[in-house]
Symmetry: C2
Subunit: 352 residues, 2 copies
């Protein structure tokens, strides 16, 4: 049965990418060897890593602007630690915007290495909105925010204005919409939403912000070490980097971020329009902060839950249970999700 995969992450990837990835595990580049049994230092894999890095800069329009691209391990959760290790001066302070579970976790790790000023938080309303009227403090080592909140279904439409380096966790909406990426000094993202499978983490960092804290940084946590070794200080997550490269190449081939944003807006509008029209549903997030990636919604009449769930199951809808912190439903409609799958879900909602 055709499945419609609304999983929040790891999540849907383009079918053509899955096919190429599957083939490479049996025979990579016609080498008569598997992708996962060749040396990461072989010419064939070095070319993959280089192409992946180049595609990132190209898609973000950051070529020649002083940024390095890294493919690391550990997920965004390890970046929560690496960011302060590399950017927080000894006795220093950073400003964080608290917009959800992942922001909170980032704040927790930063506090191990210095002082954190929380500019604003929407925790008191279970993170259902993005705080807007906050003051960005001056004199901080950096300012940190989370562009999209997977669990709560909110997305930042504006970013803090600051003289300090601006750091953004874009794990769940990277490559989904046009932004002036050069406004950010460091962007990081776990691969497993719009970029590839779980197992690698993208870091895009402006070189000039590094090396200024005087702090002794362990090798594996030091961006400069990874930059100097082209993300091969130790063995990278070969398969995850390869599939990320394929996914970035797929995105480029269909017209880049501009075109995918058009598609993403169309998908999100289709679903939110039905949520707003149908009295049986209501959105979980503040309307103006709704995410185009993770659509959170609730039934207004819980007695219809069984019926709705059964229809979803019958039509091959997968992965729309809401996170336990919000309840209800969450339809994740990342880049690779086709409009047709969203239409299947909307048709079920209309039928109720």
């Amino acid at each position: 049965m055709k499945k419609h995969n609304f999983s929040a992450g790891p999540c849907i990837l383009p079918q053509s990418v899955l096919k190429q990835a599957s083939e490479a595990v049996e025979n990579f580049n016609g080498l008569d060897l598997s992708l996962i049994e060749i040396s990461h230092r072989s010419a064939d894999f070095v070319a993959v890593m280089e192409k992946a890095r180049k595609l990132v800069l190209e898609l973000m329009n950051l070529e020649g602007k002083g940024y390095s691209v890294l493919f690391l391990q550990g997920g965004a959760s390890l970046e929560f630690l690496m960011v302060p290790y590399n950017l927080m001066s000894i006795g220093g302070k950073a400003a964080y915007l608290d917009t959800g579970t992942w922001s909170s976790k980032a704040i927790k790790e930063a506090r191990i290495l210095g002082e954190v000023e929380i500019m604003a938080s929407s925790k008191d309303s279970n993170y259902s909105y993005i705080p807007k009227d906050y003051v960005v403090p001056s004199g901080v080592d950096y300012v940190h925010c989370t562009s999209n909140n997977t669990i709560f279904g909110t997305q930042m439409k504006e970013f803090p204005k600051t003289e300090a380096p601006l750091i953004c966790d874009m794990s769940s909406d990277i490559f989904s919409r046009e932004l002036d990426f050069s406004r950010f000094d460091l962007i990081y993202a776990g691969a497993q939403k719009n970029m590839g499978p779980a197992g690698t983490t993208l870091v895009v960092v402006k070189d000039e912000i590094l090396g200024k804290t005087g702090r002794e940084i362990p090798s594996m946590l030091d961006y400069k070490v990874h930059i100097s070794k082209d993300s091969m200080y130790n063995t990278p997550s070969v398969f995850a980097v390869y599939v990320s490269m394929l996914t970035l190449d797929w995105l480029k081939s269909l017209g880049g971020i501009k075109e995918i944003e058009r598609r993403n807006v169309e998908k999100a509008r289709l679903l939110y329009d039905e949520i707003d029209r149908n009295p049986l549903f209501r959105g979980a997030a503040a309307t103006e902060d709704r995410s185009d990636m993770n659509v959170t919604f609730l039934l207004t009449d819980d007695s219809r839950k069984q019926e709705f769930d059964a229809l979803c199951k019958a039509k091959g809808i997968n992965g729309i249970n809401g996170h336990r912190s919000v309840g209800g439903y969450r339809a994740s409609i990342y880049n690779a999700m086709p409009l047709e799958s969203v239409a299947v879900l909307v048709d079920i909602m209309k039928s109720l």
Copy 2:
């Protein structure tokens, strides 16, 4: 052409595993979804993680002996930091055996967090042997060693006797030979030799040694955090864990470590016998410390290099160039390498 993959890592994996992995990337468990697009919290993937953990304890004969099994990210290189973070007391000291490049890197990271006493080092002879007559100091927080040195082709046959927790980096020979694994308190290994593809790291740790330093440990570096979340504190490297599970299952099905050790000894003997017999070759490592995983050897007459290389290429021999620190050749003959491939190499050597 049939390739004989002597790559040092990432390296050869069983053909049956590669086939299953390739299939799962297209359609996993008959779900009509790819392995890499389902949630890591789905029942299907949780079962993979649990089976992988169980297989590790079973193969090592550590069931019911107070050990936890983790599948983390970051490779052994991140363990170089996590070990002291979790085990070095504040103002404490640890003892390290320096047997090669990876030992040295482990020592470098440990020194960030405390004092390191090097019990012995073979650096002065380019790590061509394993030091033996050393004193294990008392009063240290732990004792650290590296069981197999991929680059230099040496392997520890005896391990330090100590009252302190014994920690071992087994990245390049784990699951290759019978050992009393219960003598070790923490074993770690990057997957990409005998266990699976690059992208996950195995940690087997005796629970009772943790939580004793009073040190504040960042979440992602804290073994207790990962244990409490069954290796799912954050999204694990799904593909790498799955392929590791398949490889461990393959090992169990052919008779476990006892049987693979028999095969490994047979392969190593075949190759070393030819190195010792043929005046054109000599081994790079001290005879008594030779590794059964990485066979390092040199030509005694460099004018024959082109001829040897050409014959290897013609017969599909892949990945036997020596590491730049040793030169010559390195044939890595990990668990999944068939005797037949070693015989192809030996036949070429005989023909010279």
